[in-house]
Amino acid sequence: MKMVLSGNEAAAYASMIARAEVIPAYPITPQTKIVEKIADLIADGKFNTQFIKMESEHSAMAAAISASLVGARTFTATSSQGLLLMHEMLHWASGSRTPVVMVNINRAIAPPWNVWADQSDSIAQRDTGWIQFYCESCQEVMDTTIQLYKICEDNDVLLPAMLSEDAFYLSHTSEPVDMPDQDAVDTFLGKFDPPYKLDVENPHSFGSLSMPHQWYMEFRYKIALAMEEARKKIVEVDREYGKIFGRSYGGMLDLYRCDDADIVLVAAGSMSSTIRVVVDELRENGAKVGFARLRVFRPFPAEEFRSLAAKVGTICVLDRSFCFGYEGAFFTEIKAALYGIDNPPLVRGYVIGIGGRDVTRNSLINIINDSNNPEIKGPVDTWVDLKRC
């Protein structure tokens, strides 16, 4: 069914069409509309789910983990400060191997207060054992939310996943969105049926003590293996989704006009679509420019970057976040992925769009022009569109 939906509304409808059974959540700007829309859908009798309004995000995640442990398909959503408050529970979700699906609206972290687009909130959760996706359009929010249940609930994966979409650029922007048919989604996803669950008839213990000589280290190793399985599953599920529903998104790393490119830009989130416009424009003028969209950040598409690097001269990495004391996270990780390959490309880092500063056509053209600037020595981050300070 074709509708006009904001990124927030697309997330709410996706939780409905995926038949999430339990939704514990706490509202926060700019995610609030997700919670409101879910409440509307329930009130209108369209969505049969257990919605729990929690007292905090920390509790929301605790409830989501518990619901998932009894075998319920679980959804929640948050943003920025709320995600940070969840941090402890995020580790608990992956450690418990609960396939909770969460939408995070990428919003800057205070102080100073700023509710606009910035990916620092989710980048700060990199090491929590969550699968991480970044979306480019409201349609992709709908489709990826559905895909995530298929990926996460696979018995070889059983990990939680976070889908991030940029504040306002997607959360509050209305676009045409096609919601797949309920029957087709039901067939695609099947029922959530974990191998172990909290069940009074068949008791198990979860989250108990495991001493150094026991199984803690092995539990961690199994999470590492599950992430490797997720890598394959992400590509498979995206391909299968494309066959059934007619839309797919490039698996781990979404390549656009990269085949004969000399310069490739790398970015995640809503600025991707603006980059595509600029790539098309420069291509018409004969410039060999391409774009690689980082769709998945965890597991990291290292192999995909190595294949790409073999073909291109320069990679410009755009980070909408910054890890103080070093670099933008994408920049660091891409360079690490390319360590040791033959004839590595020049890799340059750009910090852009922090705190919702608009990423414009001109900013992007400047980056491409700058990428050949011989005065920039070595791999250091350039902050784009900075005012004098």
Binding site: V115, A167, T173, E175
Partner: protein, 187 residues
């Protein structure tokens, strides 16, 4: 039709965002690609706000702000002189203002060389809807001025948008206001 960008000016509570969405939804009924979004930020009752509509025959793959709109609509005349409503609007652009006095005085205030249209949308809304909500009237006038959307599709989109939120009587009143604006807008 290439990419058309519309900027809507008004105050929080006047249905600015709704107007931006409604125009987009009507255009989608004609098979076009659309985008509608508010100015990113806190929305307070009575404060000046903006919203934007993008429409195009080709898929819209851009997510940055609108800097050079083709069309500007001003829902609240008290913004004139307070907000630079013609900012970024080129001389071959169009501006429509909810304005009760004569067109010449409006042109003097705007100092804009392109096409200027005026409509006393507040009066019209009071007559037809009973409330000074000028958003649907202004959007109806824009349908006539630009021809970007057929009036039948615009009315269909209006019913679709409001049928679950407003009583039937209010939906009909909005349709009447749209038709009156469509027939009554002057250059």
């Amino acid at each position: 039709m290439g990419l058309i960008e519309i900027r809507w000016h008004g105050r929080g509570g006047q249905g600015v965002v709704t107007a931006s969405e409604l125009f987009a939804e009507a255009s989608m009924l004609e098979g076009n690609y659309i985008q509608a979004f508010p100015e990113f930020g806190p929305e307070r009752m009575g404060a000046p706000i903006k919203a934007f509509t993008r429409i195009s025959e080709a898929p819209i793959t851009i997510h940055s702000h609108v800097y050079t709109p083709d069309i500007v609509v001003v829902l609240d005349p008290t913004l004139l002189g307070q907000v630079n409503v013609t900012e970024g609007l080129s001389d071959d652009g169009i501006i429509l203002v909810n304005y009760s006095k004569d067109l010449e005085s409006l042109k003097k205030i705007l100092k804009f060389k392109g096409k200027v249209y005026a409509l006393d949308a507040t009066k019209l809304a009071l007559e037809k809807i009973g409330r000074p909500v000028a958003n649907t009237s202004c959007a109806g006038a824009l349908v006539k001025i630009t021809g970007l959307v057929g009036i039948d599709n615009f009315l269909a989109a209006t019913v679709e948008k409001f049928k679950e939120k407003l009583p039937e009587k209010a939906v009909l009143a909005n349709k009447e206001a749209i038709m009156a604006a469509y027939n009554g807008v002057e250059q």
